[in-house]
Chain length 220, copies 2
DNA sequence: GTATTTATTTCGTGC
DNA sequence: GCACGAAGTAAATAC
């Protein structure tokens, strides 16, 4: 990893064209070949960058970064270098995550009883021609229910569930199928659309779910 | 901007929980208050980060970054500092972009004749209750056409156009309204859905569009 | 490889 | 401030 602080201007020509006037910035060059140009704001997002695989050619005050496959270019014109430091970090052991959509799905699949008393799981990732339904289950009266899970419930999720319901309701073994839209947070417009389509909305709490005993507790 | 290279482990607790084992990394602290933890790969994306506004508390080998509103936390445990450099960059003049969806829309609005001979523009960003239609125009026979423009045409774009068409077709002054889905690239599933709904698909070429004379050339 | 879905999406824009 | 759509989206995953 090489860290350069320099007064520079930058031109990008690729999927779009973009220009940065001369100013002091951080140029971050990683061991994977990537180059990114940072200002002192905009959180972690660089002003401009080039993804690997790319090649850097350091000319006389002009660094040219070329993406090997697409031909995109980042042209960095250096006026003055203020700091230049290189350090090898080695390979990172990587990040362990917990609490994303997949986990919500797993948790809820084991606890469909939280959606309604006496509900039972048919299966998780129930396959259809247009993709898998997150959870298919049956209510206490044995009627089929399709559940779509999102971390944040927006209008697209309701559209997606609607397509599944249309398809599932063509199957005489399943029909009539009703829908449940479950998310940690549901946007008002999504809620309105769901209501309009007869879909129930359920707000999920990740920590609560973790605290609830699974419907079929494991012995080991 | 402060650049620290250090052996550290990191724990994030917030929208999810995540853990990074001890390893050498770059800790990038910007003037806007953001903190990001970088490995020597993954292009410009940090392994972990905190967006502003947040506060950093430097304890004894433990830096705690707390997001002020949400309470999210990033806990950085420092084992060894290998480099520590601070430099003020000042405010960046910012990036000028060219060539994204807005430009496609502007270009096409001035050249609706490329969609069909004798077509004319009604207006760009035609307002409706559920949002603006990218382009509304009339074909050679005076029938209304709604055009949805995307850089990459996917299924969501077809859904969006469908909602507009449903709404527009309730207006007796406009109905019947048909749809055109225009994009630089259209995904197969989007194409199938569009066909199923009677929506025409058009592939746009940015460079071609720029080369075509506008329908109503300006005198100045 | 292509296609689909998620993301601590982030980021801008309009209300 | 919230809601919505776009992004040089990127990244993981299924097929």
């Amino acid at each position: 990893m090489r860290l350069v602080i320099a007064r520079c201007s930058v031109d990008y020509v690729g999927r779009l064209t973009a220009h940065l006037p001369m100013a002091p910035r951080l140029i971050l060059m990683k061991a994977d070949g990537s180059v990114s140009i940072h200002a002192d704001d905009r959180a972690y997002k660089p002003l401009n960058w080039m993804n690997p695989p790319c090649a850097v050619h350091e000319g006389d005050g002009v660094w040219t970064v070329t993406h090997e496959r697409s031909g995109e270019q980042l042209i960095v014109t250096i006026e003055e270098i203020l700091h230049d430091f290189t350090h090898e970090l080695g390979v990172d052991p990587g990040l362990r995550k917990d609490g994303v959509e997949l986990h919500l799905q797993e948790l809820l699949a084991e606890r469909v009883g939280t959606l309604g008393a006496g509900w039972s799981l048919v299966r998780r990732e129930y396959p259809t021609a247009i993709g898998p339904v997150d959870i298919l289950c049956r209510d206490a009266e044995g009627r089929t229910v399709a559940v779509e899970i999102k971390r944040r419930g927006e209008i697209d999720g309701v559209e997606q569930l609607t397509r599944y319901l249309t398809l599932l309701n063509r199957d005489p073994h399943l029909a009539p199928v009703r829908g449940v839209f479950a998310a940690q947070e549901i946007k008002p417009q999504a809620r309105v659309l769901a209501r309009d389509r007869g879909i129930d909305c359920v707000t999920l709490d990740y920590d609560d779910l973790r605290g609830i005993e699974p419907d079929t507790p494991r012995l080991f």
